[in-house]
Structures are given as structure tokens and as C-alpha cells.
Amino acid sequence: MGIDLAEALHRRSRGLPGPRGQEVLTLSPASLEEVARESGLGLRSVEIRALQERLLPERYLRNLGTLGWEGQRRLLESCTAVIGCGGLGGHVVEGLARSGVGRLVLVDGDCFVPHNMNRQVLGTLDDLGRPKVEVARERVAAVNPAVEVVSHAVVATVDNLPALLQGVEVVVDALDTPGARLVLQDVAGRMEVPLVHGAIAGFIGQVTTVLPGDETLSLIYGGEAAPAHGAEFALGTPAPTPMLVAACQVAEVFKLLLGWGQLLRGQMLYLDLESGMVERFPILGGEG
């Protein structure tokens, strides 16, 4: 029983100019939802099936030239966790959802407060007092309903992280203290999950990718001697810095999921908006 899915998708497709002006058969958000409703399948599954039929959900048309058909399908099939949904995490969630990373695990124990509003893209005045992960889940549903979100309104700890990271392929460190970040590095390493770290203070940000077994963050924060907080305690966290660093983190997630590009592994990318300095420093040795 059921509908002929391929036929249902092909019938609704229309040609649009894609990369280099070549025609690409696309499906509008409304037609994809129609097929999902008729077939009883989830929207994410319908989009994956469409890509297998060489039909592109139109929302990904401007991804195609860079990510390709296989890359887009891979993103939709993948699962990424974002730990911390504040300044960095909010922009990361926005970027991953728009790109079509198919499953997101969101973890943050905080609710929105007024002093988040200078930079945290997911929060509006209507959201004050609401859990950040709830607001994030609604945002994703509004932007890209194909993305399946599991949200946990809890503080990530050494005890709950192993369960939260089950089935996760990449984890994004968007936390806000050295201690919490080191705990995440430890658990992610034990679970063999690659970690994309980003941190900010004032107009400076840093990004690195930690593969299982690497202890890049221990070298940066001093392991057990890690300070309670960093320079952000004095400088705060103005809007441009999380935007910039989150963008780099989203790109690292793509590279990990799709297996291309040069990872920021074992090196710290520093971005200093005060001076315009952008430079990679080797942390674990090897080529700089």
C-alpha cells in the first residue's frame, strides 16, 4: 500500500537554475510537506529520498555548488550535538539547521535573561525566562522542519553527557567555562566523538577541532589547573565575536561530517577582531 514516493516527488518537481546556471529539479517546502503527509513519512526521510531521486529540496539550492548531492544527503542523515545554546550555540544551531544537518541534540540548562540579548541570536524579548533549548527547538522547526531536534534543558555534566551523546557523530563545544569544556573533551574522547571547540572573549575568538585521543583543550586551559573563567570575565562577549567563531565551528562540523577540507586539528585558530589578526598556532605539534 502507500503512494509511489518517487512518482509523487517527481510530479511536484520544477526546474530552477542551479550552480553555473544548469537546471536542477527542485521541490518546494510546501510540496515536500504534502508528500510527507501523504506518505506518512517524516519530512527528513522525504528529503533524503528526494535527493536519492536527484530532486533537490529548493531550500538547499545555494548549498549545492559547495556541498554537492552526496554531501547534502550526508548532512541530512547525520547527527550533531550542540552543548550550550547561548552566544555561540545559537548561531551554530541556526547554521546547522539552515544547512540541513538532519538531527540535532541540543543541551543547555539556562533560560534567556536580558543580558543575553546583546548576542544570542535565538532569544527575543518574548523568550525571557524560557529555556534556551525550547526556544532553539522552535526556531529550528520554523526555519527547517526537516531537522529533527532532541532538546535537553539540563546542564551538561560528566554524569549525563555519555547518555546525551549517544548516536552523536560530532559534538560542538559552545559552553562558557574552561572546566565544563574540559569535561566535554574528556567524555567526547571516551565516546570517540570528534569535538569542535569555540570560545570567545571581547573581540577575540578561538576555534579548534579535537579528535578522540587529542587533548588540545587541556594544553590550552591547563588541565586540572584550569582557571574558573577566562578574559571574557573582564571583556564580556560583544555580538560580532560569537557570530564569527560560530561560523567557523559550523564549517568544521561540515568538514568532519563530509570528510573534506583541512580540519583545525591540533591547532588553534585565533581570530582577533581588534587587530584583524587571523592565525593558526600549532598546539599538538606537527605542521603549523
Binding site: D176, T237, D272, E274
Partner: protein
């Protein structure tokens, strides 16, 4: 007899810049110090509390603050950066 002087290039970031108003963001500040000085001696000379320096790079390699400097070294000094 005083030790001969060596010159190193120092770049400060974020909060550390406030200790050296003239520290140019590009190219760094040239600092003279006695041969055999360690990064810790450099910090003392610049008036930067060692506990505020989290990561020391000498010629773009991570080093301990006890590392002895050589003439012409490039020293990049960062505080901890941990905000989100």
C-alpha cells in the same frame, strides 16, 4: 658584568593589551632583555601578572612560561578565552 641584551618581539592579546598601551596589534612590540631571560622574566619586565597569561607561544609553538628566550624570538601571549 651585565648580560648582553637580546631583542624579542612580543604580541599581546585581549586583556593583556591593557598592560602595554603602545603594544601594536600588528608586528608586535620589540623588547630588550638580558640574554638568558625566560618568558616569566619578560612578563615581569612588562608588568604583566604571570597568572593572567594562560597560553605562551614562542615562534608559534606552545611553551611553558619558564622557557628561555633567544634573540629574535616571536612571543605571542594569550589569556584564557572561554566565553560563549
Amino acid at each position: 658584568m651585565a648580560a648582553p641584551l637580546i631583542e624579542v618581539e612580543v604580541r599581546l592579546y585581549a586583556t593583556l593589551r591593557r598592560y602595554r598601551a603602545g603594544n601594536p596589534p600588528d608586528g608586535g612590540e620589540r623588547v630588550l632583555l638580558p640574554a638568558g631571560s625566560a618568558v616569566l622574566d619578560l612578563l615581569a619586565g612588562l608588568g604583566i601578572p604571570a597568572k593572567e597569561v594562560q597560553t605562551v607561544f614562542v615562534n608559534r609553538r606552545v611553551m611553558a612560561a619558564e622557557a628561555v628566550l633567544q634573540a629574535g624570538d616571536r612571543v605571542d601571549l594569550f589569556p584564557a578565552i572561554a566565553g560563549g
